[in-house]
């Protein structure tokens, strides 16, 4: 295990800058999640660290050693790809043993056997070691892929949306398992996803990437409660944060406020029988454990959470008030942050 530094790393593909001037430090044993939409440069960042791409500029340091110009094989990283990428001509056992049989880190067969057995138990695939890797379910394949990374003890584990192709139930299970394994092993892990739940639940720190730039990095709590700008605010929260023009609702907004961001916890909504109302209830979506409340305020639509046994009904007239919402200036940056 070791710490990783990226120092003003830039990678271009033709005209487009996939990653620009990226600075990132990952401490030993830290679980960092890079969150961003498709094309934000998340995967490129991982590939740069792994050595599958070479940066045009900047340097990458793993455990104090500058690896910018080194081959992937000697960088001592492990990679879990978005697609399963198990070697289809090999069995599960051979897939797991593959990294240990490489010429650069050759182990004895007895050692390999012990290590594979240990990891197979850890990722709960030990009952299928002799299966062809193609004859596994999606979840099993992905557990093997993660296991293949774990059989080594590299400086850092790099994971590129490893759970994205799984169904929701499996994703939730593996999320927990992965976090458990990482804590148990004390591994340094850089994980890339576009799923905010994965980011929120697993990360020690979340880095928000947009158009090749690291917009903000911090603990999940910081990122959620003190987003640097509109982009970061919009990435987190379910349902997505409501962005309203300043002055739509009565509020003591600080000077320079252009946009007010309000999540469920920033809104107080009350039914009015008669008199002044700010908006009306459009629709209530029943999700089971909670409801989505759709409102129209002025010419804006709002979505917020409400209790499953809510008293609101379609057509209700309501007053809406902010409760310490987020304020953003004309450039989209949060005021008071």
């Amino acid at each position: 295990m070791a710490d990783i530094s990226l120092r003003s790393v830039t990678k271009r593909f033709g005209e487009t800058e996939a990653v620009s001037e990226l600075n990132l430090h990952i401490a030993n044993g830290e679980f960092v999640v890079l969150l961003g939409p498709t094309g934000a440069g998340k995967t490129t960042t991982l590939r740069l660290i792994a050595g599958l791409e070479r940066p045009e500029q900047g340097s990458i340091v793993i455990a104090g050693r500058d690896v910018t110009k080194l081959e992937p094989a000697v960088r001592d990283v492990a990679f879990v790809f978005q697609q399963y990428s198990l070697y289809p001509h090999l069995t599960v056992y051979e897939n797991l043993a593959f990294p240990l049989r490489s010429p650069t880190r050759k182990r004895s067969e007895a050692e390999i056997k012990a290590r594979v057995a240990e990891i197979a138990r850890l990722v709960r695939i030990d009952h299928k070691l002799e299966n062809k890797s193609t004859r596994l379910s999606g979840g099993e394949m992905q557990r093997v892929a993660i296991g293949r990374a774990l059989v080594r003890r590299p400086a850092i584990y790099l994971m590129d949306e490893p759970l994205s192709s799984l169904d929701a139930k499996l994703r939730a299970d593996l999320r927990l398992e992965l976090k458990r394994i990482q804590t148990e092993l004390g591994s340094t892990l850089l994980y890339v996803t576009h799923d905010q739940i994965e980011a929120m639940t697993m990360a020690d720190r979340i880095g928000i990437l947009a158009e090749g730039q690291l917009v903000q990095i911090g603990t999940p709590r910081e990122i959620y409660t003190q987003p640097a700008n509109l982009h970061v605010a919009a990435r987190l929260g379910q349902p997505a944060i409501n962005l309203l023009p300043a002055g739509l609702l009565p509020d003591a907004a600080p000077a320079g406020t252009k946009t007010v961001g309000a999540r469920t916890e920033h809104l107080t909504i009350e039914k009015v029988a008669n008199g002044h109302a700010d908006g009306t209830v459009d629709w209530i979506e029943h999700l089971g454990d909670q409801n989505h409340l759709h409102l129209t305020v002025g010419d804006r639509k709002l979505v917020t959470l409400t209790d499953p046994d809510t008293a609101f009904q379609k057509g209700d007239r309501v007053t809406v008030r902010f409760r310490a919402p987020l304020y953003f200036d004309g450039a989209g940056n949060r005021i008071g942050g």
């Binding site: 790809f81 697609q83 990428s85 289809p88 593959f98 490489s102 650069t104 193609t134």
Partner: protein, 315 residues
């Protein structure tokens, strides 16, 4: 992936029967010439030219005797003065007022064919695999143009370049050598091999090699351990195409080989001249000529049919 997502409506019994009938009819029609050659190789020369053609006949290996031997005509007195015949071939030859003078050139010509066809196939597939991998994975400057140039070698009929190649070969001493023929067939086949294999290698996701390289392997080791095992289907298919070309090639062989390096295709027709129209010997030569390609195809049948691998990479 559920089975239901891929299920297709089961064809009706009638359409299945119609399809089966068509396939069987086509197979039979295609097989008739092969059967005819095979049957003729076991006829006696008079039976082979009988009219109407004999479908039922007494099999004889006279054709094979004539294929492997050269014979000279002798007087009846001379033949009667010889010690008793020692083999079936001896006996049949004497009945036709001839004696066996020695072995024919068929066996060395056939061995030439094997060496040249398999040698050039191996080289073409070997070079083709490496080139295809390079084109598939690396940014090769002018890749499209290079690929086009490679393909363009197949635009004209081989015979169009036969004369220049003949002159070149005579000049550098490659005429009538097995090496010359191997190089020539490799050059012709490598374009096909590159194009076919590039298609197959493009289908193999890069993640496999990338994973292997991160796991501590060099690119060449990753190519060997991870890419090649998955390209076997493509390599087998390509090898068969190359082998069929090199095995059957007639024009270059007829022009560039005459003696030591002559292959079977230009040799077989020459059999017919030796002692009348010896159709059974020609048919016997053709039958034996068909065997290697048949064996090769049957050996690789599984690889060819496997076709789609149910890969562990999902897109």
């Amino acid at each position: 992936m559920s089975a239901a997502a891929h299920s297709v409506v089961e064809p009706s019994t009638t359409s299945k029967r119609v399809a089966a009938t068509l396939v069987i009819v086509y197979a039979v029609v295609s097989m008739i010439p092969l059967f005819w050659i095979f049957a003729t190789s076991f006829k006696t020369p008079p039976d082979s030219i009988a009219y109407p053609p004999k479908v039922v006949f007494t099999p004889s290996i006279e054709g094979y005797c004539n294929l492997f031997t050269t014979r000279t005509r002798q007087t009846a007195e001379y033949i009667n003065s010889l010690p008793p015949a020692t083999s079936f071939c001896d006996e049949t030859t004497r009945k036709r007022n001839m004696v066996i003078a020695g072995p024919s050139n068929f066996l060395p010509r056939f061995l030439n064919s094997i060496v040249i066809a398999f040698g050039s196939t191996f080289l073409a597939v070997f070079l083709g695999t490496l080139a295809a991998y390079g084109f598939s994975r690396f940014k090769v400057p002018l890749a499209d143009d290079l690929l086009f140039f490679i393909l363009s070698t197949r635009f004209m009929p081989p015979i169009a370049v036969a004369i220049p190649i003949y002159l070149m070969y005579r000049e550098i001493g490659l005429s009538d050598t097995a090496l010359g023929m191997i190089l020539l067939y490799t050059a012709v086949n490598v374009s096909l091999a590159v194009w076919l294999l590039k298609g197959f290698i493009d289908e193999i996701p890069r993640e496999y090699e990338e994973a292997a390289m991160i796991d501590g392997y060099t690119r060449l080791q990753a190519f060997w351990r991870v890419v090649l095992p998955q390209a076997t289907t493509g390599i087998a298919a390509t090898a068969i195409f190359c082998l069929i070309f090199a095995w059957n090639e007639y024009a270059f062989a007829a022009l560039l080989t005459s003696g030591t390096a002559q292959t079977a295709p230009p040799f077989i027709p020459t059999i017919i001249g030796e002692g009348g129209q010896d159709w059974p010997a020609v048919a016997a030569g053709t039958t034996i000529f068909l065997v290697p390609i048949l064996v090769f195809t049957i050996l690789l049948r599984k690889q060819l049919l496997r076709g789609i691998t149910f890969g562990a990479v999902r897109k």
